[in-house]
Amino acid sequence: MTGRFAFNLLLLVFAAYFVWSATNYEPQARMIPLVIGGFVLILQSWVTIMDGRTNSAPVEHAEGAPPADEANRVAALTGWMVLFFGLFMLFGTLAAIFLFILLFLGLRRDVHKWIAFAVAGGMSLVVWVLFVRLMRFELYPGVLFGGSLPSL
């Protein structure tokens, strides 16, 4: 299954969720979601089929075809972002910013360690000056340092 097909299916699932969920609401609340959701389901099914047919020839992008390891790269960056979120939640904003940039740049072979350190430090400093000193904005302290998670 190609990425394109998987994504098209994902969108179908989204639309289906809205339609299904809407049936649980009272008439006035479910009208627009049902109409729009139904509409999207129909169109997206059509799109999925059409895309599936003109199959392997990927649409010509202005910059040429994406690299072969695209899926890996997307997954990798997603993983990085999840890491950032985890750091943010546990250790707070500044620590997350510093550690994330340090790790991201530092682990690359084509970047000097001290550049990574400088960028990480510089960014943290800028954020600190701007938010904490200038605006006296409270950056998130992190769950480990007394922060609380807002109610879901």
């Binding site: 409270e138 609380s148 807002p150 109610s151």
Partner: protein, 327 residues
Amino acid sequence: MRKFRAIGAALALASALVLCLVPGPARAAFPERDITWIVPYAPGGGFDAWSRQIAATMQKYLPQGINVVVKNVTGAGGRTGSIALYRSNPDGYTVGILDVAGLVPYQKAVGAEKAGYDMDKFVWIGRVANEPWVFLAASHSPLKTLADLKAKKDMSWGIEGVGSTKWLFSILEARTMGLAMRFVSGYGGTGELVPANLRGDFDVWTNAGPAHIPYVKNGELRAILQFGETRMPAFPDVPTAKESGYDLVAEILRLVAAPPGTPPAVAKVIEEAFLKAMNDADFKAWVVKSQQEANPGGQKEAAAAVANFSKLIEPHMKDIADVVSKQ
């Protein structure tokens, strides 16, 4: 000799350990650092304005260098901030202002567990104001008196949203006085309701607080009825519901609370500073200038106000719950 030294050292060590374990003396003066005041609403609104003024004034009546810092925690119509207050450390360093009329019905409808807070468990500090609701219509409308209202067969009421406090009080008013009622909802606040009423989107609405006062004063809006115990100074000519024969006192309750489990001695200290701030001359001047009405009360008054409100909505709880639990 060496034995004594050893024993002495051991004793010293033991007492040091014991002293570390004993909790710090309760008599250590509270407060020793800044106090956070949570406002579950956006900056610039009514609750926020009150809070900032009170907080700034309270600092005068607390030990030197102790600040009261306002923190806005918005979301879910005020619930996110209220829950944040509920879950805060009950050490006296966090307090907050609550819109009781918004919180009580929701909890009664879905239960404390799902709501995330329990109004009975908050430690009340005091009452800021209980501004009465006022019944409003455009001055070019043919509706002028209570009799007109009762005669109208189909009356549209403007509200922000189904399940909101304006909705709640509209229901209370309509049912108590036997008025026709259907809603036009979706307005983003008093700011949108005023021109909407003047434009003719709906017939009547009800509001509390100072926002509509300038419009009544310059003749664009008409206050037909008010719902306080007595007539507000701002509306000396408008009859109260009580005077018209209806036992309905409907007010917006602005109460200050601390998280459950806050020690009584600590709460008392905060209450004292709070009451002093409310009676401060500069603060009172601000209240007058912004055309609002304070009604300071302490812990007892606040708790009583909550109980009263609970009783007020009890008869209507079934229908209220039907709607509010959809949220």
